[in-house]
Symmetry: C2
Subunit: 241 residues, 2 copies
């Protein structure tokens, strides 16, 4: 398996390329529109043909590269069925798998940061990897105060869909703001300040409801664009998300 | 083996933790002084005892965390013998190895970006990793216009000490400014615009001599501090590097 973690520094977003070395088939998770040229170049240099782009959710902080990658490379766009994104080629369901060559990615719906969040599980030999989007960060998690966010849903998603994976599962987050690139399920169970095993759902909700975060700067631009797979439509009145 | 890649976003510097899961012994490569609290926290959470800090070279763009990590955790500082850093505990030589539990790191002197640059090779099962510092970047390399830099030396270092490793060796650079985290020897031999196998030493020197880069902003502060393992001494006249 070919694996690459890529960073969009402006938004601290991680993009992941997962490829099958033998067949040359690849997926990309959470491409950022501003980095599409970089991503197309690396795919070409690695000899990979992109078949699918997967968005862990409808992002509020950046615009997806999925539409451009479909246009340029013919890759199908995969978004949670709960997002009701009309432009998506595949409305992803719980338990659905996306094959890439001899490998396979399993979709787990992990709402809570937004109602349409998904995580992706890939098993490669002895290694299990979960791409947790904004459900679970290294020592953190996504906020729950917009886009149908819900601390109760997020708590259940992380405990039922991510913490049920083997303890040595590598956790690859959607963002990191302190420079971490990866963690493990065991580490987060022990050390996540919001989601360690000593915190119950009520305690987690108190933490999340008390965050008082500023509204995301790019949300007005990002949400409508991402509902259109990254197409940036001219702004019109009444467009606010 | 426990492995973590960490990022200092301000300077796009990569720090690496290499640990032995059984003995709990760990090394750190290129710690950044501003990130020392993060690094101490992650070492503690991973249950690791730091025995050595290794600087790939005397950095011009940031200050090493090696002195603070020695003071706080007792870790020995490892710097190239060519750097003549008086504060170093170990003056590293070509071919020297540093053990961490059952694992081992091999030192290769790779001058050219600076005269004191080193790369580190670690073999873990079927995987070979090289921590190439500023000798080799993903699709690039360190500049050669100060600190006894030399395009001729850098060309020889990369070709003799890094490109002689197996083609599937993972290349972990000291920096990346476009959001790449890793590459392979095969990829760089094929796609590095300065150091692909189609470019000879004369061609490489023409490229490097033509770069006309701005002088590093932090060099006046960084070099004297790094010659003292990160200790920031009061500025005095005539201190310019």
């Amino acid at each position: 398996m070919i694996f690459r973690q890529l960073i969009d520094k402006e938004t601290s977003t991680y993009t992941y390329i997962l490829g099958d070395a033998d067949s040359g088939v690849a997926l990309i998770i959470d491409p950022v529109i501003d980095q599409v040229e970089r991503d197309i170049k690396i795919l070409a240099e690695l000899g990979l043909t992109l078949t699918h782009t997967l968005d862990t959710h409808v992002h509020a902080d950046h615009i997806t590269g999925s539409g451009v990658l479909r246009e340029r490379l013919g890759a199908k766009t995969v978004v949670s069925t709960r997002a009701k994104v009309k432009c998506a080629d595949i409305d992803a369901q719980q338990g659905q798998t996306i094959a890439f060559g001899a490998h396979s990615l399993e979709i787990r719906l992990t709402p809570g940061h937004t109602s349409s969040c998904m995580s992706f599980v890939v098993v490669n030999g002895d290694t299990t990897m979960v791409f947790s989007g904004d459900a679970l960060f290294v020592r953190g998690c996504g906020r729950t105060d917009f886009q149908q966010g819900s601390p109760s849903d997020l708590y259940d998603s992380v405990h039922n869909e991510i913490y049920s994976l083997p303890d040595d599962t590598l956790v690859y987050p959607g963002h990191d703001y302190k420079g971490h690139t990866v963690s493990t399920v065991a580490e987060e169970k022990a050390h996540n300040p919001r989601l360690n095993l000593g915190i119950d759902k009520a305690g987690f909700s108190v933490i999340m409801d008390g965050l008082k975060l500023a509204y995301p700067k790019k949300i007005k631009e990002s949400l409508p664009a991402n509902m259109a797979c990254g197409e940036i439509k001219p702004k019109t009145e009444g467009m606010e998300a």
